[in-house]
């Protein structure tokens, strides 16, 4: 199994989720994060005090998938999250040793 971690633009969530459903991935966990990278942030100005906000709001998706789903998942995300502009985000893939479903105690791919 693999854990796919994707950083995407916030307003792309619905598109990505649909694209994943289309390739049969129906579980994920989402977090609001701040990203720092090439994409420029913005400047805020309060009574002359200027603060450069380098951190851009992003969403982080985590999905545990069977190894054979990895490529589908990646291409689904890449397609759906793409706007062609800097800051579209990144996908990270790591190994996943074990998964357990709390409710049933099922393990491995059964637990996905």
């Amino acid at each position: 199994m693999r854990m796919i971690t994707a950083i995407i633009k916030p307003f792309k969530l619905d598109d990505v989720r649909e694209a994943l459903t289309d390739v049969g991935i129906n579980g994920m966990t989402v977090e609001e994060v701040k990203g720092f990278g090439r994409q420029k942030g913005h400047t805020e100005l309060y009574r002359g005090a200027e603060y450069v906000i380098d951190f851009v709001p992003k969403l982080k998706l985590q999905l545990a998938v069977r190894t054979d789903q990895v490529d589908d998942a990646i291409s689904a995300i890449t397609r759906a999250a793409n706007t062609g502009k800097i800051g579209d985000g990144k996908i990270f893939v790591t190994d996943l040793e074990q998964v357990i479903r709390v409710r049933t105690g099922e393990q491995g791919t059964d637990a996905l």
Binding site: E44, L45, Y46, R47, G48, A49
Partner: protein
């Protein structure tokens, strides 16, 4: 607002009102005017509303979320403590009880409101009402200073300082200007508190910012307002409440009160638009924090003038307030690097000075469209009046600065003025009050 002022004013614009009062007197053997009483009951509620929740929200939205409760707490505790102090001895130090008052301080005949009975009458309204109306002014003035030392002063030190400050700065200056003191005798025009409220608070803020020193991380680290919706809410409340502040200072429901409300409103609008324009031109975008700050500038500046000027002059006063306070805010923060956290001096102090001077011009009845309602007693020309206004500004400025400095140093001997650096990092809410502002999931 003090008897002499009113007595004099009543010979001028308030003339129309006086017969009503005496009429009522004849009718029921008591001097209270029920209509004026009705308005002043409302005005008092409005001025309290300015501090809680108005000013509290305005300020609290501007700090970081870890300090939001500390600001609300300071404003609230001041509301309570200053009220009791005013009852105990503040009121009598400002207004005394005898008909003739000394130049510098009120007599002590009204300690514990000894002479405030249910049927006592002052200026045609119940004395109890005059006393509580004035009390709301004695609440908001120290509360304004909170903005200068926000996010770093210890609660206990803040309380001690404010108690002393009310007695040794606010009460005397209030006496000078409204309680029958020397500035009133000179014919100083200060309808609702340019000197008494805004210069004292603004100058005290400047001194406090200097004595306490900047917040940790100033000016590099981001100290962006944590909740501007709260600040804008407070701003709206301040505007509405200010109607009580200024139009209430007529102590009557008459043309003078109505005109005070109108000029107050126009100056607020003009101050806002001016600040917005300055920002739009200099920074490329107008901001909501900018526009509400311009509003406060416009309101603070018209305050001393609100009983003496007409609507066209109010527009000029508001526009100059928005512009000058804008540039002063930039200067204090970016040139002088003084961390007056919420810009109390450049807005209230500068606005108070500006308004106190401008009323010396626009009170003149000879300016055509820009004419006002007349000079202060004993003054015959803009020159005369401006001289008196300048004396009022300078004396209030210097007196406040010196006494505030001494008081802060004194309190600093007894307790630490600031929390420690680590506590400042953690935030005053947890450190000083064991509470958190928000727990929103």
């Amino acid at each position: 607002m003090l008897s002499k002022t009113i007595r004099r004013l009543s010979q001028g614009v308030l003339l129309s009102c006086v017969p009503v009062i005496s009429h009522a007197e004849e009718l029921n053997g008591a001097a209270i005017n029920p209509a004026n009483t009705a308005w002043m009951l409302t005005a008092t509620a409005l001025v309290l509303f300015m501090t809680i929740p108005g000013l509290s929200l305005f300020y609290a939205g501007l700090v970081r979320s870890k300090n939001v409760l500390s600001v609300l707490m300071q404003c609230f505790a001041l509301t309570c403590a200053m009220s009791i102090l005013w009852f105990v001895v503040g009121y009598t130090m400002a207004f005394g009880s005898a008909p003739e008052q000394s130049d510098f301080l009120g007599d002590f005949g009204n300690v514990l409101f000894a002479a405030v009975k249910v049927d006592s009458v002052t200026l045609g309204i119940p004395t109890a009402l005059f006393a509580i109306f004035q009390m709301t002014f004695a609440i908001i003035t120290p509360a304004l200073i909170v903005g200068a030392f926000a996010e770093r002063m210890r609660f206990s030190a803040m309380l001690m300082f404010s108690v002393l400050w009310l007695l040794l700065v606010y009460a005397p200056v209030c006496h000078w200007v409204w309680g029958g003191g020397w500035l009133q005798d000179m014919g100083l025009l200060d309808f609702a508190g340019g000197t008494v409220v805004h210069i004292t608070a603004g100058v005290a803020a400047l001194v406090a910012a200097l004595v306490l020193g900047p917040r940790k991380g100033f000016p590099v680290q981001s100290m962006a307002p944590h909740n501007l919706t709260m600040t804008v809410t407070g701003a709206g409340m301040l505007w509405v409440g200010w109607f009580g502040f200024n139009a209430g200072s007529a102590v009557a429901a008459n043309g003078n009160a109505a005109m005070a409300m109108l000029v107050t409103h126009l100056s607020a609008a003009a101050g806002s638009m001016a600040w917005m324009a300055c920002e739009w031109i200099r920074h490329g975008k107008p901001s909501v924090l900018g526009i509400v700050t311009g509003m406060v500038a416009g309101l603070g500046t018209i305050t001393p003038a609100s009983g003496s000027v007409g609507p066209a002059a109010a527009l000029v006063i508001g526009l100059s307030a928005g512009t000058i306070c804008f540039f002063m805010t930039m200067m204090i923060k970016k040139r002088l690097h003084i961390d007056d956290s919420l810009d109390v001096f450049p807005v209230h102090g500068v606005g108070g000075i500006l308004g106190t001077l401008l009323v010396g011009i626009f009170c003149s009845p000879d300016l055509g469209l820009f004419s006002g309602l007349g000079f202060g007693a004993g003054n015959q020309s803009i020159g005369d009046q401006l001289g008196v206004q300048a004396i009022g500004v300078v004396s209030t400025f210097i007196y406040t600065a010196v006494v505030t400095w001494v008081l802060l140093k004194l309190v600093g001997l007894l307790v630490d003025l600031r929390v420690t650096g680590e506590e400042e990092t953690e935030g005053l809410d947890i450190v000083q009050h064991d509470e958190r502002g928000y727990d929103i999931r």
